[in-house]
Amino acid sequence: MAPKRTPLAEIHEEIGGNMVDFSGFYLPTHYTSITDEHETVRNAVGVFDVSHMGNFRIFGDTALDTVDNILTQDIKGMRMKQLKYTHFLNEEGQIVDDMIIAKLGDDHYFSVPNAAKIKLDWDHFNKYRKEGTVMENLSEDYAIIAVQGPKAVDVMRKATTNPCEMKFFNCDYMHFKDLNKTFLVWRSGYTGEDGFELMIPNEDAVAVWRSIFKHGEEFGIKPIGLGARDTLRLEKALLLSGQDFDFNRTSLETNVTWVVKWNHDFVGKEVLEKQKEDGIPAKFVAFKLNDRGIPRTGMEIFKDGKKVGIVTSGTMIPGKKIGFGLGYVDFDLKEYGTEIVIKIKSREVPAVIVNPRA
């Protein structure tokens, strides 16, 4: 089956993206090189087409009860126009997916599930939907353009009439000068940098992309592909759904246990309570190699000759000649500075657990 074209596919072709079929979507791995694109986002500003991600609108009298019961986060405590990163679990306590949810009104929420899990998430949400909650799957109707990097705010200030005073993990309606139209914009991203994610109806996506590039030129703006998207998130130890967890982990085993708020009931909570009491078996960590090599998904982690974990993501961080990975180790080995060994084919490569935010 031919991969789905996003509303921005014609732009990727025009500017020479290396196009592939990525989870059923026709998207670029890179335009110039992953290294160049990675550094552009770290130092200036880059733009991603993330239209493959889904869009759910959830509203109605019981919408708050519905989402508060599905999601691990405390949705009742959210302020208007606030965003929250959250997990949601099945009844075995395993993570089904992660997402960001926006509060647009007391009974109105907007969330962005992962591309490969749209159908699964939709079914999951429907299973727990309360009477009086309306859900719309708008995944086919919206493009998402992510503008990321330390200069992203400068680009947004030029492209819109807004002062961009909203804080990270908030959202607002912003007025785009060139189009004379207003769209929902989130201040969020998946790169570890400041940034914005623009929710644009399909028919306006190309015009918004062009406008962003026009205003971004003086800041060195560049298009960024999926390759750098992965290295950017990996370097900051941001979880990748389906890879760093895939119905085999609970939120307590990840590095974002704060997504679990105990002050409300949610699907899977009892399992987490029991796990907390019995002891959490493993912990998600970032590590760097102290010798040459690149850790890859599925490689085993050892300590004192004993297997203590598994690599779930790995790469060589562009621009740094250091093999870097993410994975799960026995819970008591989670501290920064713990020395471990990664088995790379016949070699045992020394590595150390690090703080990816440091």
């Binding site: 290396n18 992953i34 290294t35 060589m316 084919k345």
Partner: protein, 137 residues
């Protein structure tokens, strides 16, 4: 979804369907990967050195080590010919990006050809080009 125009294909080399090249001089073969391969991989960031003294087998992955890695993935090197690995290009191991710049000047390893009749199994230039074109469609 790219095409092979603009890629270099030297005349004096033999090629494999897995995109290695071999330059044959007497009983020594010098081995590298083709520009088609580097183009597909993009951003080569690591060369896992083959092990000197090991015996390579034609069309098989080098054992226990020997791969070219991009940011995204590790790609094994399939030896064009059987024979003992004599030498590894340490310059390329230290600076893998050299393979992006010039994959023909920058070889990866040399082997002592164990069975010269295996050379007949390798592609000459034209059939290799056709093979690359076919992979594009």
């Amino acid at each position: 979804m790219s095409d092979i125009t603009g890629l270099e294909f030297p005349e004096d080399l033999k090629y494999t369907k897995t995109h290695e090249w071999a330059k044959i001089e007497g009983d020594i073969a010098t081995v590298g990967i083709t520009q088609y391969a580097t183009h597909q991989l993009t951003d080569i960031v690591y060369v896992e050195a083959p092990v000197i003294g090991e015996n390579a087998v034609q069309s098989k992955e080098l054992e226990p080590e020997g791969a070219v890695e991009s940011v995204k993935a590790s790609t094994p090197i399939y030896s064009p010919l059987s024979g003992e690995i004599l030498e590894v290009n340490e310059e390329v191991v230290d600076a893998p990006e050299m393979l992006n710049d010039d994959p023909y000047a920058n070889w990866i390893y040399k082997l002592k050809i164990g069975d010269a009749s295996e050379i007949d199994n390798l592609f000459d230039l034209d059939p290799y080009k056709k093979h690359c074109e076919a992979e594009e469609h």
